[in-house]
Symmetry: C2
Subunit: 334 residues, 2 copies
């Protein structure tokens, strides 16, 4: 366990490094940071902290930088989670008051707001339909061989898709389809749109496979479809760590890989805020970055996930404060 002064030193180093991106020297900590001792004493403390793995050196005679263990300790034990100004609160509130017609948009707006307030890159993904309960399905004929299906869920999610057919479909058929789908699916979870349902419908209805099959297929497809939204990719490029071309390239690569982003946002089951520091990231490609994710849930139902990607030297304090505040606000809206 770290004694009080060690905690203070560690905290000071983490915060200083987050601010300056430069290794922190023993001297730098004597001036402010409320440490009442000489640089020599701090040097001793730093040596200890390094021995226990909380700090790293870039070379023999350099100042210290936090190790991943150091960041972790900081996030778990030393963090302030109310690092948010009145202006920021006002700004966030006003942004979240935007009227939205689709709940996905709320997640997008939240992600956009987080990116603006924290100056980090965010990614977001809409609600996962799978867990939701079907409230209503509507089929609308848009042409002789084209139909739209609209699925409404208990959380207010609306998913619609166009379905095209190789043969004509009549108004009458659509009515039956409407009736049958609703009879079987209303009140059921979305994953009930599956193979057994398809078989059942083949039996019950006299229409050809050419009608039922595309409907099921297309609905499944649109429900699985995970659209990723990116905000402020350019913001990261102003950070000094992105002066290394390798890091910058890696970053663009990561952002460009939609599957990776989706996996990242879907990993972690927690309802709340998750912090992944460097190697803690489930994805190898993210090992040089820190990721903070937060799932927007209501009654255990996923309404979308937002992730911040930044350097390990991320301003965790600010990020977590902002996320907590937004989380609170979102819950109020529901």
């Amino acid at each position: 366990m770290l004694d009080d002064r060690k905690k203070k030193v560690l905290q000071a180093i983490v915060e200083e490094y987050i601010n300056t991106a430069e290794p922190v020297s023993s001297n730098a900590l004597t001036s402010n940071h409320g440490l009442q001792c000489s640089s020599a004493t701090i040097r001793n403390e730093m040596a200890d902290l390094e021995k226990s793995g909380y700090l790293d050196k870039t070379h023999t005679s350099s100042g210290r930088i936090p190790s991943e263990k150091g960041y972790r300790y900081y996030v778990d034990e030393l963090l302030k989670d109310d690092d948010i100004s009145l202006e920021e609160i006002k700004y966030i509130s006003s942004k979240l008051e935007t009227k939205v017609n689709e709940i996905e948009d709320l997640t997008k707006i939240a992600a956009n707001t987080i990116s603006e307030v924290t100056h980090y890159t965010t990614v977001s993904i809409g609600p996962k339909a799978n867990e939701q309960i079907i409230k209503d399905i509507k089929f609308i004929l848009l042409g002789s061989r084209m139909m739209m299906a609209v699925i409404l869920t208990d959380t207010g999610l609306v998913k619609e898709t166009i379905i095209k057919f190789d043969e004509d479909v009549t108004e009458k058929q659509v009515e039956t389809i409407n009736y049958m789908f609703n009879k079987k699916l209303k009140g059921q979870p979305i994953e009930k749109i599956d193979r057994p349902l398809e078989e059942y419908l083949y039996d019950e209805m006299t229409y050809s496979v050419n009608v039922i099959k595309p409907i099921i297929e297309q609905i499944k497809k649109v429900l699985e479809d995970e659209q990723i939204y990116l905000e402020g990719a350019n913001k990261s490029f102003d950070l000094p760590e992105f002066n290394s071309l390798e890091v910058a390239k890696n970053f663009v690569n990561v952002l460009d890989t939609k599957e990776l982003m989706a996996d990242m946002l879907n990993s972690g089951f927690a309802d709340d805020i998750q912090v992944y520091i460097g190697d803690e990231n489930p994805k190898e490609e993210l090992k040089d970055f820190s990721v903070v994710t937060f799932k927007h849930k209501v009654n255990g139902k996923d309404l979308g996930t937002i992730g911040i990607i930044g350097p390990k030297r991320m301003d965790y304090s600010k990020v977590i404060s902002v996320m907590k505040y937004i989380n609170k606000k979102l819950k109020e809206i529901e």
Copy 2:
């Protein structure tokens, strides 16, 4: 006017520079490129070409690189537009055979294919609704205060949107709305959904402003909405010009600015392929890049636009060949 040998020299330099990204020396051109003369002669030709503005030097004793005028001449006069292999043709064809339910998807697939074949970053934007003719509008009640509007146009474009109300809306009202909108709009261009229509509807229908207003507003909003799709942002980072942090940063900035991308894709009225080299770009921010855009049109109706963004040292030959082929293929599909 350039004589034959000068053309050959210019072409060789452009192509060599596109390949190697290094200033081209007089010596490099003697070996291959079918020039039957010594390096001294080539040096003289190069000096001439530089004097006429087709070539630049990076410093006094360096080889030459094409100037923007040089690239322009190359694109206008020296380009081969059938620089496409059998494998590429096969690959493109197979990709474009993918069944799509919405025409926007076709543009996305084409953009993705172009990015894969050329290894450049592409951006794409869906069809502009404005110019299209309304074929049908459908309103579907999704709840007591929620409605969906679906607009179908003559080119097969389908746009749908959710509209929420502050008061209850009845099935009966929806029927009237359906009737009125279709009566006024069927066969009309989409821009007819405007203020005069709104006024007319206020007069004709007895419903409150609270119903008509959100419908018109939301429909207008969704029709104006321009979603930009990005493909292969990471590919550009493998190019040597992106070793300059400034260029890389600029590039990410540009891609991140959706409005800029939209403007870029919307600029230029031509039906066909447009090449913007460096300063020719209508947007200042793109002056270090070359952009090739291509509008996918059928009967003069916009079905989406695709843009390639890359270094000025872009492989115009390949890019234009691929675009031409894809353009041809797309026309076949319609």
